[in-house]
């Protein structure tokens, strides 16, 4: 096995930014309950509120940090929105839910839950690049539509949607508009107001902060039914003693993400394109999945006909390269990536897909190493394959 490790799975999660780690370790002694009224409590609360402001600033609502509700992560934020719709739909006249076929499982399964509760749910189609079918969206919107929930950027293929346009359509119909922006924040500019979002989901561990902490942006006046009932924390929107250290780590991660974004995006996008060009030149019949232009700067999803994704993944792992795959075998289910299938690539190309997601620490050498290691792996797998490439 190789002693060299090249981590290319930043969409799965990221390591702590050194400066986030430093801030968290430094403030470890701030243990007091941030709801306590004594000095230590007030001090802890002060850190939480500073973090809230930094997170608000990352999505362009720094003037109204109270619109940020801290949660345990992206899954909780998304589920909170869908639970809210459950309560609204049971009482009110609107019940229609519109989402896309390529959402993260935490949105898809929440939507399926509402469907099983009798809500009409539409899973919008996407085109071959993963872009939402806008005419289907327009046709699906109506006076019954309660929620439109569309992810800003896809975790597997990186395709970025036209959020301002989608938000405008959703709002014009009178529906609430939610976006799972978990993969977008820190990678592309995100502005909740520009998108006319009522709700926006973030997760800290995707932006070089700790795991187990996230946020839900809540436009002023947008209804929210707490998923976790209890004390008065977060204006009653989300009970539970404040996760001080996690939250202040989120604050620092948000500050850095905002500050470093232009430089990060430029550098990582150049490396991503170098990786794409190098692999496409060295390996015959590679298919580049996702949108050619509207794509996350760090995400490259490729299919290698004739080779199976988990086999590629494991050969890469043996060479010290860490990636993920859309193959069914890797997921433990029988179906390969629902995202790739929704783009119409067909099961074989979905089984043979590999996602490279680059990050802050990715170097030219890392990219060169993959361009050197992967071609013989594909050649070897294709040579033993029953399937024509």
């Amino acid at each position: 096995m190789s002693s060299r490790r090249v981590y290319m799975d930043y969409n799965a999660t990221t390591p702590l930014h050194p400066s986030v780690q430093e801030a968290m370790v430094r403030d470890l002694e701030i243990f007091a309950n941030a709801s306590s009224m004594h000095e230590d409590g007030r001090k802890a609360r002060g850190r939480v509120e500073e973090a809230r402001k930094a997170v608000a600033e990352l999505i362009g609502c720094g003037d109204n940090p109270e619109q940020i509700v801290f949660t345990s992560g992206g899954s909780e934020s998304n589920n909170t929105v869908f639970a809210t719709m459950f309560h609204l739909g049971r009482k009110g006249p609107r019940r229609g839910i519109i989402t896309s076929a390529i959402e993260h499982p935490c949105v898809l399964n929440a939507a399926k839950w509402l469907e099983s509760e009798g809500f009409p749910v539409t899973f919008l189609k996407v085109d071959e690049y993963g872009k939402l079918d806008m005419s289907q969206l327009k046709a699906s919107l109506g006076p019954d539509t309660l929620l439109v929930s569309i992810m800003a950027a896809n975790n597997e293929i990186g395709t970025i949607q036209d959020m301002a346009e989608i938000g405008a359509l959703a709002k014009a119909s009178g529906a609430y508009f939610h976006s799972d922006a978990t993969q977008a924040v820190g990678k592309i500019p995100v502005c909740a107001d520009d998108w006319k979002a009522d709700y926006l989901t973030m997760s800290c561990h995707k932006l070089y902060g700790p795991k187990g902490v996230g946020a839900l942006y809540l436009r002023k006046g947008a209804p929210l039914e707490p998923l976790i009932r209890g004390g008065h924390q977060e204006h009653g929107h989300r009970a539970g003693t404040y996760n001080n250290i996690g939250i202040l780590g989120f604050g620092q991660a948000a500050r850095l993400a905002k500050e470093e974004l232009p430089e990060y995006a430029r550098r990582v996008f150049a490396l991503r394109n170098k990786l794409r060009d190098g692999l496409v030149a060295a390996i015959p019949k590679v298919r580049v999945n996702g949108h050619p232009v509207n794509v996350l700067p760090n995400t490259l999803n490729l299919s290698f006909p004739g080779a199976e994704g988990e086999a590629i993944l494991l050969y890469l792992d043996l060479a010290g390269i860490e990636v993920s795959t859309g193959s069914a075998c890797a997921s433990g289910s029988l179906e390969p990536s629902h995202v790739l299938l929704a783009t119409g690539v067909g099961p074989e190309l979905a089984h043979g897909s590999i996602r490279f997601s680059l990050g802050r620490a990715t170097s030219e050498e890392d990219v060169d190493y993959i361009i050197e290691q992967l071609p013989p792996i594909i050649k070897r797998l294709r040579a033993m394959s029953t399937v024509e490439a």
């Binding site: 080779a307 199976e308 988990e310 494991l314 075998c329 029988l334 067909g346 089984h351 033993m384 399937v387």
Partner: protein, 134 residues
């Protein structure tokens, strides 16, 4: 069984070994082939082709090709090792568990992969019998 410093914790060293150095990969030439089978479906993520050459009732030559996950490749490779040199009745008795045990176990969700090799061998033996009956 698992190698704690290894790359994928849930695969045994034997699986990794057979995956990274698969035995008997390739095709048998037509004149050496006495039985052949193709099993699986690439659309479902795995497909295997198996060739056997039989002399005096013994599987003297065997080769496979596989499109599939590490579990499929490793179990196919191990199956060919188990079948090689065996009398056809003995080879016909090789079970999924024999393959899995020879590999020191495979993850629960990969057990269906091991079926493919044994099924391919059964089908190749049936093909052999059909050819001999001609």
């Amino acid at each position: 069984m698992q190698n704690a410093s290894g790359p994928v914790l849930y695969y045994t060293d034997e699986v990794i070994d057979h995956f990274s150095q698969p035995r008997n990969v390739g095709e048998l030439p037509r004149e050496d082939t006495d039985g052949y089978a193709c099993i699986g479906d690439p659309g479902c993520g795995d497909e295997m082709k198996l060739w056997i050459g039989v002399r005096d009732g013994i599987i003297g030559k065997i080769a496979f090709k596989s499109y599939g996950c590490p579990g499929a490749i490793a179990t196919s490779s191990m199956l060919t090792e188990l079948a090689k040199g065996k009398a056809i009745e003995e080879a016909a008795a090789i079970s999924d568990d024999d393959v899995i045990n020879a590999l020191g176990g495979i993850p629960e969700n990969k057990k269906h992969c091991s079926l493919l090799g044994v099924q391919a061998l059964q089908a190749a033996l049936a093909d052999y019998r059909a050819r001999s009956a001609r």
